[in-house]
Symmetry: C2
Subunit: 185 residues, 2 copies
Amino acid sequence: MPTKPEILKTRTVARSRLFEVEALDLRFTNGVERTYERLAKKGWGAVMVIPLLDPDTLLLINEYAAGLNAYQLTLPKGLIDPGEDPLEAANRELMEEVGYGARRLTPLKELTTAPNYMGHSIQIIVAEDLYPKRLPGDEPEPLEVIAHPVAEIDKLVLERDFSEARVIAALLLWKQLFRREEHAR
Amino acid sequence: MPTKPEILKTRTVARSRLFEVEALDLRFTNGVERTYERLAKKGWGAVMVIPLLDPDTLLLINEYAAGLNAYQLTLPKGLIDPGEDPLEAANRELMEEVGYGARRLTPLKELTTAPNYMGHSIQIIVAEDLYPKRLPGDEPEPLEVIAHPVAEIDKLVLERDFSEARVIAALLLWKQLFRREEHAR
């Protein structure tokens, strides 16, 4: 791996309720200096849940995405609360957004979003052995929950409106591992 | 699809050289009002390139990612310039970052990054039939180019340091389609 550039100076250049933009003055090993901006990582991280009602059925939610001003079929996700571990956060989000708890929670992978200019990451957790359980969340409206056949994930990820990279990566990674386990049996 | 919330008001609450944060006052159809923040979509969009040196060999770059303060093995990518179409932008980025041009460029899919709070999207373009061609870019240092066997993509996407959701989604989507084409032959 190459030697990292030296960080000469870091400062906050913009801030809102949700976001904090940092500017970094960098000196690369060849002497070239650049100022880069990035969104700082805030809080305790985030989780995204792949809920399996049974081995053949995935649960998705239909949620308003402000960035696109559109409803999007997606996986339940949310920020980790202070003091929570990622598996607890995943189970809480599942109860709040989908109305199920999980007896089995398995970490799949930690994904970064756009590491060139964001420090954010999200942990993907597979939730199995579900039971009905509803917790009140901070959603402005109840979320529509949609059962989707696992066998049709390949088709789903190609649909034009199904576009979120983190969700597509999570589902295809899970399928790849799951397929491998099936072969091993 | 549910009816979208009404946007009561939009305003810019923070701005830097690269980022613009918008606050949206929303009224959901059940009457609940919320203020959401999002990063506005700026510019003409972005492209990410999957360069294939031959059908069995993928080209990756090793690039400094300011968001993580770490070098990351990734795909070439960049912003579309004013007046450029996505395929032209993909070919230019390929020439700048990898040192190749492509005779065949095929759009794969448009991915969104984190649509709950970002308007950003990136178009994935497959580049084939490559020829050596270098264009000067805006990189602070030359990028290390790494040839990677297509056969080992499944292993690569599970590696801890290979974490970017957009890159993993692009590679697994491409593999899925490519595999399908192979079966069809």
